[in-house]
Symmetry: C2
Subunit: 346 residues, 2 copies
C-alpha cells in the first residue's frame, strides 16, 4: 500500500508507478534500522521507493536482508551509495551517536540532504550547527512508536496518520533577518515533507525550541510527574491494595524504562526544567491554598479547563497548503505552528 | 442474585431463604439514595433483604417507589421505622450533611448501629465523636462508583468484587489501652461486615487515619497532580496538538469535576497536604538533579520501581479469617491492614 495515494503497489515494481502517482521520492538512506528506521524501510519498500539502510548490528542487517530489504553493516559503503544517489539520509540512531553519524556524512556523503527522527530537536540541531551542516539539514520527529524496540518490533503502517513534526529553524531565522532561505535547504525541506507524506503522516511545522518545549510539556514532564505520583502512591501496602483507576492511569507511564525517559530529559533539560518548575509552582500554590483556605479549587479549576481544551481540540488539525519557497510561505509555517496545524505541499 | 452465596433469589421472597444461606441481614436503612445508596438498595432488595431509605428529593423517592422500592422523603418517619427495626443505618449523603444526619439519628433512632459510605473517614469520625456516638459507629468506604451520580445512575452489582474499607478505630484504641471493646460496637462491626459481604465486596480493615492517608496517596493527590500536569501541558496550541497517549492517560482524571475532587481534599486536608509535600519534594529533587547533573534518574528509578510494586501486587489480596471479639482479633485486623489484606468473618 502506498500511503501517499492509498493504492496498492507491487513491491517488485520499483519503477512502474501507478498512473497519477506523485514523482518517486528521492532515494532514502536510513542510518539505524530499529523500530523507527526499520518500520520506515518496510513502508517505503512496499511503496516501490528506493530505500536502503545501515545498522551497526549484523543480526539486524541479516534479519532485514533475509526479508529482501537492502541493509548493510558497512557505514562508509552505505554513505558512498547515498552520495552517488543524492539520497535523503535519515539519522535514526540514538542521540549519543548523532554526532558521529554527522561526521561520517560530512566525509562520505556531503551532497546529501539530512533529516533525523530523534525525539528532541534542539540537541540534534546543535550537533548540526557545530559542523556547519545546517544548510542541508531539516529535523523531523515522527510521533509514532511502541513499547518495543529493534528490528523485531518494526511494522508496516507505523506512521500512517501520526503527527510528523518538521523543523524549519533556518527558514525562520533567514526570514527574521530578511535573508533569502538557501535553495539547498528548501530542497531538503521538500524532500523531508514528501517522505512524511509518503508514509501517511500529518506534517506539523515547528521550530526546534517550540517543539522541544511542547514535548517537555506533554511527554517528558508528565513522565517525571508520573514517577513522583507512583512513588508517593505506592508508599505502603495499604495504598497499593486500595489503588484504583485514577492511580492506574495516572501512573501508567511510570512503567516506562528510566533509561529511555532519561534520554529524552537529558537531551531536553532546559524545557523540561521549565515545565517542571511550572508544575512545582502550581502544586505549591495548591498546597498553600489548601493549608490556608482549606481548598485547592484554583488549581482544580485550571486543570479541569486545561483538560477540556485538550479534549475539545479539533478532530482534524487545520491544514495549510503551501508551496516551498513562495512569498510568505514561512509566515504560513509560523501560523500553522501557532495553532498546532499541519501543512501540505501544493 | 445473592452476592454472598451466588444463588439467584426471587425478589418477592423476602423471608424464604435458600437452604444454607446465612441469616438475613439486620434491616438496612439508607439515608441518601444517590449512586451509592441507591445501588445498595437494588442489590439488597434483590437478595431479599429488608431495605428502605430516605432521600431529600421527592423526585428520587418517586423514581425509587415507582420501581417498587421502599423510599421516603420523610427523614423522621424513616428513622422511627429504623429505631423500631433496630436497623443498621447507612449514611450515604455528602459530607456537609453528615452532622445533621447524626443529630437526627441521635434523636429518632438512638438504638441503631450506624455506618457511612463517605470517601473520607476521619472527618466523619470527628462528627461522630463530637456527639459521643462512637460506640454505635463503624465507618465504611465502598470503593466503587462511576462518573455519574443520582438515582438514575444506580445499578445492580456495583459493589461486587469492590474493595470495601471498614474502620476499626474504637477497637484499635481500646486494644492499645488494654480496655475491652464495647459489645455494642462489636455488634455494629459485625453488621457492617455482613452488609459488605452480602453485596459481594472485599472487606479491608483500616483505621480512619490510615485509610485517609492511603486515599490521599492513591486518589486525592493524583487528581491534583493531574490538574497541574494538564495545566502545564495544555499551555498552548502546539503542545495540545502534539499531545499523545502519555498526556491523555496521565491527565484523564483532570476531567473530574473540581467540586467533587475538592469535597475529598477539603475533608482530608492533612493527609492530602502530606502527599502533596512528598510529590513536591520529589519533583524538586529531580529538578535539582537535572539542573546540576543533567539527569533525573534518581526519581525515574524510584517511580519505575514503585509502579512495579503496584503492577506486581497480588491478584487476590491475602485473606484473614476471624471471629469478631475473639482473643487477638484486633491484632489480626492490624496485620491485615498492614498488608492491605481483606478479612472474612467466620
Amino acid at each position: 500500500m502506498c500511503h501517499a495515494c492509498q493504492v496498492s503497489i507491487d513491491k517488485s515494481a520499483t519503477t512502474a508507478k501507478t498512473p497519477g502517482h506523485n514523482e518517486p521520492l528521492t532515494p532514502t538512506c536510513l542510518l539505524g534500522l530499529g523500530l523507527i528506521g526499520g518500520s520506515m524501510m518496510r513502508d517505503l519498500a512496499a511503496a516501490g521507493e528506493v530505500v536502503y539502510g545501515y545498522n551497526r548490528s549484523t543480526a539486524t542487517v541479516d534479519a532485514a536482508t533475509a526479508e529482501g530489504f537492502e541493509a548493510s553493516s558497512d557505514l562508509i559503503a552505505t554513505l558512498q551509495r547515498a552520495e552517488q544517489d543524492r539520497a535523503l539520509i535519515v539519522i535514526g540512531t540514538p542521540m549519543p551517536v548523532v554526532g558521529r553519524m554527522l561526521d561520517a556524512i560530512a566525509e562520505h556523503a556531503p551532497s546529501c540532504g539530512i533529516t533525523d527522527v530523534v525525539s528532541v530537536k534542539g540537541a540534534v540541531l546543535d550537533e548540526v550547527r557545530a559542523r556547519g551542516m545546517e544548510h542541508s539539514y531539516v529535523g523531523a520527529h515522527p510521533m509514532a512508536g511502541s513499547a518495543k524496540a529493534g528490528w523485531e518490533a518494526t511494522v508496516t503502517g507505523l506512521y500512517d496518520g501520526a503527527p510528523w513534526v518538521i523543523t524549519y529553524d533556518l527558514a525562520d531565522e533567514c526570514e527574521s533577518a530578511g535573508l533569502a532561505v538557501p535553495e539547498r535547504w528548501l530542497e531538503v525541506f521538500t524532500q523531508v515533507s514528501r517522505l512524511g507524506k509518503a508514509l501517511g503522516s500529518q506534517l506539523i511545522p515547528a521550530t526546534s525550541p517550540r517543539h522541544d518545549d511542547a514535548v517537555a510539556r506533554i511527554s517528558h514532564m508528565p513522565h517525571l510527574a508520573a514517577y513522583a505520583v507512583a512513588t508517593v502512591g505506592a508508599g505502603g501496602e495499604l495504598p497499593i491494595s486500595l489503588a484504583a483507576g485514577s492511580f492506574r492511569d495516572g501512573t501508567r507511564v511510570a512503567a516506562a524504562e528510566p533509561d529511555m525517559v532519561m534520554s529524552w530529559c537529558e537531551n531536553n533539560a532546559e524545557p523540561v526544567l521549565g515545565a517542571l518548575d511550572e508544575v512545582i509552582a502550581l502544586l505549591t500554590s495548591a498546597r498553600e491554598q489548601l493549608a490556608t483556605e482549606g481548598t485547592a479549587k484554583e488549581l482544580a479549576q485550571l486543570g479541569f479547563e486545561a483538560r477540556g481544551r485538550y479534549e475539545n481540540r479539533p478532530v482534524q488539525r487545520p491544514i495549510t497548503q503551501l508551496t516551498v519557497g513562495e512569498s510568505g510561505w514561512v509566515t504560513k509555517l509560523r501560523e500553522a505552528e501557532n495553532v498546532g496545524g499541519q501543512f501540505e505541499l501544493l
